[in-house]
């Protein structure tokens, strides 16, 4: 229980730190970038929206900083991020809503697949220590872990769309098709997702394999494995019922660590493939100096990551008695 409480406290504090950084960076930067942005958009958006923006970035306002800060926190928690400038007059929350499903579909599915495949391969590699899999895979994945995500994506584009011309290299679906549930459209969505998904998979699966393999190797030296052998249990039973079950739990906790890695990779992969998810939107917002959208994207990504970590923590506590007792 104490562990859960600690993690909850960490969640709240981290969120607060992230929001605070988000609030102060534009105000502290030299040359006031927000003001430059406003100048660019003057005359293109209506005056009421500009007023709201001025308030959001603390320009031409008599309000003390503290009051601005409290209003900002209030707005953030009610989901009121103001209007996007690029997609004016769409509110930022609406832009977010169009981007989010693409990211969750792409990154969510690939992460789960990477976890399952990586854990299984790692289990086998650790179990057959010194075997073919164990001697070949770790060095290979040490190397793939050092590859830049986006470059792997570019190589796949070179191979499959430029040279072989079998897969599309940009976008989330064929824009000539109407978005509905027809077979054509779904097929188009899937074929557009293959290259980005494979890119994320190639890079992230290695981490799972290595940690799982190392966990298994450490656990195989434990007494209860020896005990299980002494009892004459079948190898299968020891492998899945004893080694795997105990090794996968720290792996679950490691998920929290890897999430930041996956998110940064996903942003780059979405950029590389012009995939209209949250990461692509974030960079679009940066390029257009659309600061409201950019801030909202940052808050969005942060909250998503933190919630995912929290879920992981709760799962770990539910499944692993060791985490409950360590406090």
């Amino acid at each position: 229980m104490r562990y859960v409480l600690r993690r909850l406290v960490l969640f709240v504090i981290t969120l607060w730190v992230a929001l605070t950084i988000n609030f102060f960076i534009p105000r502290l930067m030299p040359g006031n970038p927000a003001e430059a942005m406003m100048a660019r958009f003057r005359g293109r958006v209506n005056p009421a929206a500009l007023k709201a923006l001025e308030a959001a970035f603390g320009i031409n306002t008599q309000k003390p900083l503290l009051q601005q800060y409290i209003e900002y926190l209030g707005n953030t928690f009610t989901g009121n991020f103001g209007s996007s400038l690029t997609f004016f007059p769409q509110p930022v929350s609406q832009v977010l809503a169009t981007a989010l499903p693409w990211t969750i579909g792409l990154v969510g599915v690939t992460t789960v697949v990477a976890f399952l495949v990586g854990t299984l391969i790692g289990l086998v590699a650790g179990w057959r220590r010194g075997g073919v899999l164990d001697s070949v895979l770790p060095p290979v994945f040490v190397i793939t872990g050092a590859l830049p995500f986006f470059w792997v994506g570019l190589l796949l584009v070179l191979l499959f769309s430029v040279t072989m011309n079998v897969l599309p290299n940009a976008g989330a679906y064929d824009v000539t098709l109407a978005p509905d549930f027809s077979a054509d459209f779904i097929g188009s969505v899937l074929s557009h997702a293959i290259l980005p998904a494979v890119t994320i998979l190639i890079i992230s699966v290695g981490g799972w394999i290595l940690t799982m393999r190392n966990n298994v190797v450490t656990i195989l030296a434990d007494d209860y494995i020896r005990m299980a052998r002494a009892k004459g249990l079948s190898n299968r039973r020891i492998m899945y019922g004893y080694a795997a079950r105990n090794a996968v739990l720290p792996n679950l906790a490691g998920f929290a660590m890897s999430l930041g890695f996956v998110v940064s990779g996903a942003i780059l992969v979405e950029y590389t493939f012009n995939y209209p998810g949250v990461g692509y939107m974030l960079l679009q917002a940066v390029n257009n100096q659309d600061y409201p959208l950019m801030q909202a994207m940052f808050v969005m990504i942060t909250i998503t990551v933190l919630v995912a970590i929290l879920i992981c923590d709760f799962l770990t506590v539910m499944l692993d008695p060791r985490a409950r007792t360590e406090g």
Binding site: L10, I13, T14, V17, A18, I21, N22, I25, P26, M29, G31, P33, R128, R129, G130, G131, P138, P139, V142, I143, G145, A146, L147, P148, F149, F150, W151, L154, L155, V157, L158, V162, N214, V217, T218, A221, N235, A256, M257, G260, V263, S264, I267, L268, Y271, T272, L282, L283, V286, N287, Q289, Y291, M294, Q295, F298, I301, T302, V305, L306, I309
Partner: protein, 310 residues
Amino acid sequence: MVSITAGSMKPPALKARRRRGGGALAVWNAVRRSGKALLGAALLLVFLVAAVFPQLFTSVAHPAERAYDLSLPPGPGHPLGTTAFGQDIWAELVWGTRETLIVAVATGLAATVLSVLIGVAAAYLGGVADEALSLLTDVFLVIPAFPLIIVIAAYANGGNLAVIIAVLVVTGWSYGARQLRAQALSLRRRDFLESARVRGENWIYIVVFEMLPTMISLIAANFLGTALYAVLTAAGLQFVGLGSPNSVSWGTMLHWAQSAEALQTGQAWWIIAPGLCIALLGAAFALLNYAFDEISNPALRRVRRPRKAS
């Protein structure tokens, strides 16, 4: 009491020096014996030479200058061809090593110093200070770093080298601090530290000469891990256009190559070469890191044992 302390100053100091030397020697021996580490060290050495003496590899002195015909294929004079802007790709590649290595080493060093300070201080001080420092570490561990870096770089209006290094350090120290704290905690009650305390050594001496030498392989692994993180993240940042657009570095090359649609216009080398260099440098750090992991965790060392009959 005073005289005893003063009299016993000398032997422990000598002993500590020996232990420190032993640590460095053990690291060197382990590097020499591991094929992975040797390969990593060799790769790193090549890049180091290229970073310090780029003139050894290319005769071009100003790689950013648009001095040649546009989009030449690889051929005599231009081993990898030229860019769509008329720069020699090979020369850019060689000269780009410097900036990439500076980012990697500077970030690695600064972040490692920070994680040693915070991690060891947390473990050594204990109590409320430990709680506070650990909380700080955990907060920075779970904040998604890359979006944060993007936001900061965006407001800084295209980061110059110092900005990039600063944000990489701020976002890169926490993982190491947590590991070092754990290691330092496990050392706290060891006999050799107790005896140093009983001898009356001050805490600075104990931390610097007694604790740190035993943690040297973890600290080295930490440096390498952070350097790898810095190389990849800086390249990503430059690739999406948040680096300085005029810098000569591999990430910036990739940015311009992608902007000029190098893949679609048959200039694959412009994309392949810088990415390959990032990958090789990253691999050098990763291989060395892997070797250090094996030193600090003997359970991971390769064993050749006969297969058990199943």
